[in-house]
């Protein structure tokens, strides 16, 4: 599903965030991406989202070479990838429903389908009764789940999450991770960046560990 082929990313200013990185994630896998702060986890996810381009090397997503994808194809690519952010990137000028509906409206779904799918997604994250609320009135854990509902509402084959439990207490974090596992069970490939090792260690999923933009052996992590 995801393949990095000798990928390096150097930011303007000379900082090398990823250094000759190669790895592969199979379809339907659930993988944790770990490493200390500044190791390059977010950069890796940004390359998959095409928020950044690699300085060298190639990134494949679902068999597509992202280097060959022209800028005008980026929106279509992003529509096939769900993302969850640490700061959830919710819009506080509209209801929970409208936040979750955004990807569907962008993809051109008809209003009746939008309603059906948004409610299905909210149901999955257990927030069906909050659809009319403004997300600013929700707790941190609930906001994060709204973000997850928005990421999955378009039923992407690939779901990325960048520190999705960063601001949450351990109990809520475990809940969120369980949610991701449920999506993985229905066939969604999942890649979660997190430095919360105590949480990750308890879960039976593959680890990819970064240090200074390079892979650590999984055993070391």
């Amino acid at each position: 599903m995801i393949q990095f082929d000798d990928v390096s990313k150097r930011y303007e200013g000379g900082h090398t965030a990823l250094n000759h990185l190669s790895f592969q994630i199979e379809r339907n896998e659930m993988v944790f991406l770990t490493g200390h702060s500044g190791a390059g986890k977010s950069t890796l996810l940004k390359l998959i989202m095409m928020m950044e381009r690699p300085t060298s090397g190639q990134v494949f997503v679902d068999g597509k070479n992202l280097n060959r994808l022209p800028a005008r194809k980026i929106p279509e690519h992003r529509r096939g990838v769900g993302v969850v952010f640490q700061n959830h990137q919710l819009l506080f000028d509209r209801s929970v429903f409208d936040n979750v509906a955004l990807p569907l409206i962008i993809a051109g779904f008809q209003p009746r389908d939008v309603g059906r799918r948004v409610r299905a997604a909210l149901d999955k994250v257990g927030l069906l009764d909050k659809e009319k609320k403004n997300p600013i009135t929700l707790s941190g854990g609930e906001q994060q789940r709204v973000g997850i509902a928005r990421a999955v509402v378009n039923k992407p084959a690939l779901l990325l999450a960048d520190e999705p439990t960063g601001n949450l207490d351990p109990e809520l974090s475990a809940e969120i991770m369980h949610l991701f596992e449920q999506f993985n069970q229905v066939g969604v490939t999942i890649l979660i960046a997190s430095h919360d090792l105590s949480l990750i260690a308890r879960l039976p999923h593959r680890l990819i560990s970064l240090k200074a933009g390079q892979l650590l052996r999984p055993e070391v992590a």
């Binding site: 659930m30 962008i106 779904f109 066939g187 969604v188 490939t189």
Partner: protein, 338 residues
């Protein structure tokens, strides 16, 4: 230094769910659905942007008023000019040629001459006023009745008033006709009252050019005003733009609400300009009907008319859209998810 992790989960056979927007192969049915969704979105955005403007009337009214006043100026000028032009057309007879006849020409001869002149193609009408008729008229108008009665002979000549053919006053043909008529043996003196008509036309021409260039400049101003307003709107919605781009919104999708907003501002300005025009015409209606009464003509002001009103609104709407487009194109490039 690269290592490929070895611990892998067994593959599941469950295929990932493909949905419209997520894949390369899209069936015609889905395409049709998406096309419908696209138009539904256009309508929704049109309504949402309009409601948003109406929801904050204070700030939007300011912009709409500025645009309206800027557009009203050239529009009012052009409408005034076309009214004056229409008045002038009613006075084309003012290019009439007055032929003062020699004293020894009898009224019968004068009538004969009038008939003959009337046959000519370049003459529309000839009106004869005999010397005594002229005296009567003068007596009535001037109030010098007694003085005139004391005169032994009528000092006034008979007059033929010749109206050249052809609706518009053409200086050259009138001039040739004038030269020819003044050579007639029965004519003592000819007078061509043309110059002020020419001057009027020249002034109208200048006026039109001024209003058009004013309109052009003010349209540029409108573009700038709308551009600036949209720029602020974009800044205010930066978060939304980032999120929309993150979840796969195309540039067109991101642009759309701002283009509609620009369009609404422009249209609002156009309607305001039209209202200003109607209002000024209402103010002028009284004085004009008095003036036309003095000139014994039935003249009333003409407005823009249906076609031109529609044109004004479409143009202003387009200007708004255009102003937004110019800014949006540049501005949205600088807002990317990081």
């Amino acid at each position: 230094m690269s290592a490929t992790p070895t611990r892998r989960q067994p593959k599941r056979s469950l295929a990932p769910v493909r949905e419209p927007g997520a894949g390369a192969s899209i069936s015609p049915v889905q395409l049709k659905d998406r096309w419908r969704g696209y138009w539904a979105n256009q309508k929704v955005v049109a309504r949402q942007t309009l409601l948003r403007l109406v929801a904050q009337p204070a700030s939007s009214m300011m912009t709409v008023l500025v645009i309206g006043i800027a557009l009203a100026l050239p529009v009012v000028m052009l409408v005034s000019l076309s009214n004056i032009e229409q008045l002038g057309r009613g006075w084309d007879g003012a290019a009439r040629i007055s032929l003062f006849l020699k004293r020894d020409v009898s009224d019968d001869n004068a009538r004969g001459l009038a008939d003959r002149l009337e046959q000519r193609k370049d003459i529309a009408a000839v009106q004869f006023t005999s010397a005594s008729e002229a005296l009567d008229e003068f007596r009535q108008l001037s109030g010098y009745g007694e003085v005139l009665d004391s005169l032994e002979s009528n000092p006034l000549p008979g007059v033929l008033v010749v109206t050249p053919a052809g609706g518009d006053v053409d200086a050259d043909t009138s001039r040739t006709l004038f030269d020819e008529l003044s050579m007639l043996p029965d004519v003592d003196q000819a007078k061509l009252d043309l110059e002020w008509v020419q001057r009027l036309h020249a002034m109208m021409d200048i006026g039109k050019r001024i209003s058009l260039s004013l309109g052009f400049l003010l349209s540029l101003g409108v573009l700038l005003v709308i551009g600036n307003t949209i720029k602020l709107a974009i800044e205010a919605r930066r978060d939304e733009i980032v999120v929309v781009k993150l979840v796969g919104g195309t540039d067109a999708f991101v642009r759309r609400p701002f283009l509609y907003t620009g369009f609404w501002y422009g249209l609002g300005g156009g309607i305001t300009a039209w209202l200003i025009l109607q209002f000024s015409m209402l103010l002028l209606a009284g004085p004009v009907s008095m003036l036309s009464g003095l000139y014994e003509s039935e003249y009333s002001l003409t407005g823009l008319g249906f076609g031109n009103t529609l044109m004004l609104w479409l143009t202003s709407g387009f200007l708004g859209w255009m102003g937004a487009w110019l800014v949006v194109r540049r501005q949205l490039k600088s807002i990317e998810p990081r």
